[in-house]
């Protein structure tokens, strides 16, 4: 019997503000412990929160980017619980009136296994709300004690909650990746997962198709897409095994152990929660004016979804290519800048970026923002492919040199003598010599062994030291060989 997998995500994105959500302390990552924990961050008696405009602007941008309703009035609430990394004993969050309402995100899903085809899916975003991050508990041994660093306490977070719309680990990962790309794209989060700027909680349950929703378990704090996939795969299998063995799923918060590849329920959160949410009396309702909305809209770049569609309809790229080129804002900007140099080379430009450039970046462990060649350099090379100056083989050599040594395409072509031979006379001379020197093969070819054509191409290319314009060479060879067929 089949099982249906139901997945919803809660993603905590740290907003890229200079200062904290409720105070003027810095949010820079990696500072010495508690040096960015100001009076508000450590919750001294008498201190009060004042809301950071930068955090609000970023939340609005996100809401606009997913086509959500932005609440004209939203309210901050206190979520009460005791934990040493939560200095006030409550987290300031938003509860029944969040700043961003329902929206949606279109994702491109590439099945992780099997031979399924990529497909598109719309995932509904339930809401997104502003809240403050907690500090960090350091469990290294201080003679059996835990150290508390409150530098992170008060860092602004936008918690983005999805509907349980995902039906596989692949869809969950695709959603998380699309969201990750989007928040970086619109410049509200640096997306640094190692530093915890983008943290995913994944709610997983399974059910028989058509049956009511099963009990879910929440996998906390996944900070890589790889772990997310592994954690979901393990969790799903565990739930199915449990149910098939007649067991029951208890609602629980679980942690993923990357070493073992397993999930296990947290020990400390057993006690039933009663967060006692109530409106924070220290903060007034957040009213978002039409002018704030307009301002956010004006600073929003063209969104990946719109770009993707434009690449298909205006540039004639395949949906697959378009989605890869819009996987990050840096990639899209690279593509557009390179294409500006050789505007008619859309497909070739896309191929180079998706092919050689991406492969080389991968090998060197770089991302597109760190690419050693500039869009202008790549575009210069494309221009020379387009006007026939270099062959594909020549282009590969130009690319190799640009990557490892730098330089513009034209200079490299000259220095390395990569200009194609397009002089018909010179090519004809080579072809004539080959026909004269290989009478047996010529006879065989003319006798019907068509496969030998490649043999002549090879010889001719070799004779031209690889510089012959391949199209031209083909044409001359064919004409001369077929002449006396």
């Amino acid at each position: 019997m089949q099982w249906e997998i139901i997945i919803g995500l809660e993603v905590h994105t740290q907003l890229s503000t200079n200062s904290k959500i409720f105070s003027g302390a810095s949010t820079t990552y990696g500072a010495e412990p508690n040096t960015q924990a100001d009076a508000v961050s450590i919750a001294l008696p008498g201190v009060l929160p004042v809301l950071n405009k930068g955090a609000v602007e970023r939340a609005i941008k996100f809401g606009l980017a997913i086509g959500a309703n932005i609440a004209s009035r939203s309210v901050f609430a206190r979520k009460n619980y005791f934990y040493p990394d939560l200095p006030k004993g409550y987290q300031i969050s938003q509860f029944d009136l969040p700043v961003v309402g329902q929206g949606e995100l279109t994702i491109q899903v590439e099945p992780l296994s099997g031979n399924g085809k990529p497909y598109e899916k719309v995932v509904r975003v339930t809401r997104a709300h502003l809240e403050e991050d907690a500090g960090k508990s350091l469990h290294e041994d201080f003679r059996g004690m835990t150290g508390i660093d409150l530098n992170r306490a008060g860092t602004p977070l936008l918690e983005i909650v999805s509907e349980p719309d995902m039906r596989s680990a692949a869809e969950a990962v695709a959603y998380a990746k699309t969201l990750h790309s989007l928040v970086r794209w619109i410049g509200i989060c640096d997306g640094n997962m190692q530093e915890g700027s983008f943290r995913c909680d994944v709610n997983v349950s399974v059910r028989r198709p058509g049956a009511p929703l099963g009990t879910r378990r929440e996998i906390k704090n996944l900070n890589s897409f790889k772990f997310m996939q592994q954690a979901i795969d393990y969790e799903v299998q565990w739930q199915i095994d449990t149910l098939e063995n007649g067991g029951k799923i208890q609602q629980a918060t679980v942690l993923f152990d990357p070493e073992k590849g397993t999930t296990h329920a947290m020990r400390s959160k057993e006690e039933a929660h009663d967060y006692r949410y109530f409106p924070d009396p220290d903060l007034l309702p957040l009213d978002i004016t039409p002018s704030m909305l307009a301002q956010a809209r004006d600073t929003l770049p063209e969104l990946p979804q719109a770009k993707r569609e434009r690449y298909v309809t205006e540039l004639g790229l395949t949906p697959y290519d378009a989605s890869i080129l819009t996987s990050s804002r840096e990639m899209a900007e690279f593509f557009e800048a390179a294409l500006a140099e050789a505007p008619d080379q859309r497909k070739i430009c896309a191929n180079w970026l998706i092919g050689d450039v991406s492969a080389q970046l991968n090998r060197d462990g770089l991302d597109i923002a760190q690419c050693p060649i500039t869009p202008k350099q790549l575009g210069g090379m494309l221009k020379r492919i387009s006007d026939g100056t270099i062959s594909n083989a020549g282009a590969k050599e130009v690319f190799r040199v640009m990557w490892s040594e730098s330089g513009e395409a034209d200079a490299i072509i000259d220095a390395k003598g990569l200009r194609q031979v397009s002089d018909t006379g010179a090519i004809e001379k080579i072809v004539d010599e080959i026909i004269a020197n290989n009478p047996t093969q010529v006879a065989d070819y003319r006798g019907g062994k068509d496969k030998l054509f490649g043999f002549f191409v090879g010889l001719a290319m070799k004779a031209s030291k690889g510089k012959a314009n391949p199209a031209q060479l083909n044409e001359v060879l064919k004409r001369k060989l077929d002449n006396n067929k």
Binding site: S19, N34, A37, V50, S268, R276, P279, P281, L286, D287
Partner: protein, 95 residues
Amino acid sequence: MSLSNADVKKIASLARLAMNDAEIASARSQLSGIFELIAEMQAVDTKGVVPMSHAQDVSQRLREDKITESSQRELFQTIAPQVESGLYLVPQVIE
């Protein structure tokens, strides 16, 4: 309304207040008296009344996103019960 000892125990635990049985019993009787006083408001018809969270109907002022604070760790930690290497120390947190 009357509270049970179990109710009081649960509240004390949520509020992180250690209480022995005698304290729970005495808290129960005092809290029950206070809840009798509070019960007076249950009878009021408040249909359609908007809850009032703040004394003034004003909206939240926004602060410019600027760093205005610098480290005062040394000063702040002079009043801390237990610190080491700039960290506040607490009994081990179990996850």
